[in-house]
């Protein structure tokens, strides 16, 4: 019998580790997207993925249902997630503005061409 790693997850009820798993997949996808896309908007999307992967972690660890902790309201993780969403929105606005300016100057949004800040 071959033991696939993480196979036990399929047989268990949904818990924190499932959420963390999904978050990790999202995070990895985001990082890969950021590392491979040459399009600035693609990079932006990757960032969003990374942030949302992190958000999932916050919510999973914060939820009192998943933690079986009745004394906690479970709002602290959600609160952090709200912050991250707001932060992501602001950051997206800034990045879009940079991208727009970059396009105005270079007629392109290829991040590989944005190497003028090299040391």
């Amino acid at each position: 019998m071959i033991h696939l790693p993480l196979a036990h997850l399929l047989s268990e009820p949904v818990g924190v580790s499932h959420y963390v798993m999904v978050g990790a997949v999202l995070f990895t996808c985001g990082v890969l997207c950021m590392a491979t896309k040459r399009n600035a908007l693609g990079v932006l999307m990757g960032i969003e993925l990374v942030l949302n992967g992190a958000n999932l972690n916050f919510i999973a660890f914060g939820s009192h249902v998943l933690r079986n902790d009745v004394n906690s309201l479970g709002l602290d993780g959600q609160l952090m997630a709200m912050f991250v969403i707001v932060l992501a929105a602001a950051e997206a606005a800034v990045l879009l503005a940079i991208a727009l300016n970059f396009y105005n100057n270079h007629n392109s949004i290829d991040v590989d061409r944005a190497d003028e800040l090299l040391g």
Binding site: A35, T36, A114, D115, L118, G119
Partner: protein, 820 residues
């Protein structure tokens, strides 16, 4: 001592003394802010000195005379001298004792005084201390037995000096109000040429002149009122510095500033002697005080100098106290053989120390009163404005020296008095001869002042205390008058040179005739023997009589007898030479004559006031028996009314002053004085009025003599050779040493220091310090260059770095966790 009188007198005189100080302070702080063109300073100073004069005269007539009435018979009135021995028995103190008003420590009263004139052996009754009031206002400090106080010693002499000083100072102040008007606006000094060829222009200094005048009066009154030698010394120096300020008033003129320096430095020479005298006194007697300090009941608490040296037990004869003898053996003769001499006739123990103390104090007087050999500063002091000359030469500076000699009189040994007499004699003759050839009108007067001061010192040295002090007072009036007249002439013709004057009598009659009064007073004009005469007649005759009497007692000292008579001849000659050259004859310089004018009233009124005093100060006041000599007799120093014999020089005899009024002496001396003065005037008239002899031919005939006198006996050159040249040589050598030796040592050490630092710079600084700093910088630079390569600017690469870094971090953490 009458306490009420004492406090009244001391308060009055204290205010008269302090008011000029207040004026000085007021002008010092407000003078400039009142404006340079206002007469504020002049009015303040004049008003204040007027108040001082009023207070002084009130002190004399309102307080002193009612409490200390004069003796009925006084010594200057001529009719009484046939019976002089009876006269001396009623001198003022005895009179006071008779009336129960004398000082409380008086013993027998009038009984002692019967034989005041018969001095055969020097051991007869002597006069008591004069009525005096002594006390302290303020104690500056006490250091062991040395007590320094601000105090007063008031006797008839103090009160008279206050009146004389303030009166003359008032006249001088009024006169200066007019004389100094040039200083009210911007002043162009025609005697100072700047480097660009123009004359110096400076703002006027009217207020400052009066500021100094006030300080001058304050200092002089301080000398007069001082109750101890230390306080005298303080004000003595203040007088010196004031004269420095005033002589150097035109400080931009080279001659004025050097004259001021000369006056100050020459005075320091004398003051050095004075300090020695003070030290000798203090170390032996332990006090500086003139008078005895008494408590409220009149018991003596602390004895002063005079009562220690002339104690009542010793019949007021000068005798060295035990402390003086001990100090002398310690200081002067370590072998201590002086104390073993038992012979009472020749007990010289302590006399040498007293001699040194006396001569030391007199040294200060030599400097201040411009006596030979320190007389050289006074003629140069003519550089000051004329009112200053008038004040310096009459009432203040030079009077201070004579005053101190008079005040200190009881402590002078007969030998010290002989020194004083010789100095006075030399001064009198030298200065008089120099005055013959001088042509600067103020210089003639300056030398005449020196000569007259010589008269005073001579009189004091010969035992003629009243004669000397009387001459001081009369001289103050007529010399003040003469100087102010000369100032008026200078003001009118704008030159000091008598060879450019002549015939000014018609242009400035008031000045001319008041000056004639001054000349007659100084030569002692009067009807011989019976009087009356000008003030100088009384005082100069008194001096000549005393000299005559002295010469009779000391045949071996005949020069002291003849000097004043010869001096009288020369005085008469040069004074009338001055008057004739200035006011008589034809104008020598028509231009100056045409522009000459009489001075304004503010200057001539003081002249008239002073000329009245110059005529009448020696007279007896009608109705009352008040006259100056009677007042001075009240202040006669203790123990001076006896024939005294020298101790170190046994053949020296100082005759009783009252003996000099004996008819035989009076007759001879009076005629001698009159005939010499008359022949002096006659000679001056022959040469300068009637032109029977041509002064130019005379000058040619006596060329060596003339150049000798014209160059003032070569004194300045002599001092230049003896003192100034060696000093200059020493300082030049020192300067050479400084520049060559000390400077080269300095330069050498600097070079060595520079070399060392160069080596240190090259070896240590360049390699170690710089190398360390540069090495660190180089390494940092290289590291930066290498790290720079990672920064490609590629976004995706950076993300890879982040990822890889994170993964590496995780792996590292997992390893670390495993090891724990």
């Amino acid at each position: 001592m009458d306490i009420a009188t004492a406090s009244k007198l001391s308060t009055l005189l204290m205010w008269a003394w302090l008011l000029p100080l207040a004026s000085f302070v007021v002008i010092l702080f407000l003078g400039k802010s009142m404006g340079r063109h206002s007469k504020f300073g002049g009015y303040v100073a004049t008003g204040v000195i007027l108040c001082s004069a009023a207070l002084s005269f009130y002190a004399l007539f309102g307080v002193w005379l009612p409490n200390n009435p004069l003796a009925d018979a006084s010594h200057s009135s001529e009719e009484v001298h046939a019976e002089h021995s009876e006269v001396t028995s009623v001198h003022p103190v005895a009179f006071l004792a008779d009336h129960g008003e004398g000082e409380s420590k008086g013993h027998e009263g009038a009984a002692d005084h019967g034989e005041g004139g018969h001095g055969e052996d020097g051991h007869h009754a002597n006069n008591k201390p004069p009525q005096s009031y002594y006390g302290d206002w303020y104690t500056l400090g006490q250091f062991g037995s040395l007590k320094l106080t601000i105090g007063y010693y008031i006797d008839a002499l103090t009160v008279m000096m206050f009146c004389m000083v303030t009166l003359i100072a008032t006249c001088v102040h009024f006169y200066a109000l007019g004389y100094m008007h040039d200083e009210l606006h911007d002043f162009t000094d025609s005697e100072v040429t700047l480097s660009d060829g123009t004359n110096l222009k400076r703002p006027g200094r009217y207020y400052r002149f009066f500021q100094y005048l006030s300080l001058f009066c304050f200092s002089m009154l301080g000398v007069v009122i001082a109750g101890n030698v230390a306080m005298v010394f303080v004000f003595w120096e203040l007088v010196g510095i004031c004269s420095y300020f005033l002589i150097g008033f035109y400080i931009e003129r080279h001659s004025a500033s050097t004259a001021a320096n000369k006056a100050f430095i020459v005075n320091r020479v004398g003051d050095f002697g004075m300090l020695i005298g003070m030290m000798a006194l203090w170390s032996s007697l332990g006090t500086f005080a003139f008078g005895d300090l008494t408590d409220t009941e009149g018991h003596v608490v602390e004895q002063g100098i005079f009562s220690q040296l002339r104690s009542a037990e010793n019949d007021y004869h000068l005798q060295a106290t035990d402390s003086v003898v001990a100090e002398q053996n310690r200081v002067i003769r370590p072998s201590a053989d002086g104390a073993t001499i038992e012979d009472p006739e020749h007990n010289t123990a302590g006399q040498w120390l007293l001699f040194i103390a006396g001569v030391g104090i007199f040294c200060g007087c030599i400097g201040k009163s411009a006596q030979f050999p320190l007389h050289v500063w006074l003629p140069d002091a003519m550089e000051g404005p004329t009112p200053v000359s008038a004040l310096v030469h009459s009432a203040t500076m030079v009077a201070a020296g004579v005053y101190l000699t008079g005040r200190f009189y009881p402590a002078f040994t007969p030998e010290a008095l002989l020194v004083i007499a010789y100095i006075g004699c030399a001064t009198l003759l030298i200065a008089a001869t120099i005055a013959i050839t001088a042509t600067d009108i103020k210089r003639v007067l300056a030398y005449s002042t020196i000569s007259q001061l010589g008269y005073m010192m001579l009189a004091l040295g010969l035992g003629g205390w009243v004669a000397g002090m009387f001459h001081l007072i009369t001289h103050a009036f007529f010399k003040g008058l003469l100087f102010m007249c000369s100032g008026s002439v200078i003001h009118g013709v704008h030159t000091n040179d008598m060879t450019e004057m002549g015939g000014l009598r018609k242009k400035m009659p008031i000045t001319a005739y008041t000056m004639l009064v001054g000349c007659l007073a100084i030569i002692g004009a009067g009807i011989p023997i019976i009087g009356p005469g000008f003030s100088g007649y009384y005082s100069k005759d008194a001096i000549i009589e005393q000299a005559w009497s002295y010469g009779n007692s000391n045949p071996h000292l005949a020069i002291l007898k003849w000097a004043p008579i010869v001096g009288a001849f020369i005085t008469a000659f040069y004074m009338f030479r001055l008057w004739y050259m200035t006011f008589a004859g034809k104008p020598r310089n028509q231009h100056r004559y045409d522009h000459a004018h009489e001075s304004p009233r503010v200057m001539t009124v003081p002249l008239i006031v002073l000329s009245i005093f110059a005529i009448g100060i020696g007279w007896k006041l009608p109705i009352t028996n008040l006259n100056t000599t009677a007042l001075l007799e009240q202040a006669r120093p203790v123990g001076t009314l006896a024939t005294t014999q020298g101790v170190l020089l046994p053949e020296l005899v100082i005759p009783n002053e009252h003996d000099s009024h004996a008819p035989a002496i009076k007759w001879a001396a009076g005629w001698a004085a009159f005939s010499t003065a008359a022949s002096g005037v006659l000679l001056a008239s022959i040469i300068y009025l009637w032109n029977l002899l041509d002064p130019k031919e005379l000058k040619q005939t006596f060329r060596p003599l003339h150049s000798w006198l014209w160059n003032k006996w070569w004194f300045d050159e002599l001092y230049g050779l003896i003192f100034v040249a060696p000093t200059m040589m020493i300082s030049k050598t020192a300067s050479w040493f400084d520049r060559r030796v000390i400077d080269s040592i300095l330069h050498g050490s600097v070079t060595v220091c520079k070399g060392c630092s160069k080596v240190v710079y090259a070896v240590f600084d360049k390699t170690l310090v710089d190398g360390m700093a540069n090495g660190i910088a180089g390494v940092t630079w290289d590291l930066g260059l290498w790290l720079r390569k990672i920064q490609t600017g590629n976004l995706r690469q950076y993300i890879m770095f982040i990822v890889i870094g994170t993964v590496v971090l995780f792996i590292a953490i997992s390893f670390v966790q495993q090891t724990i």
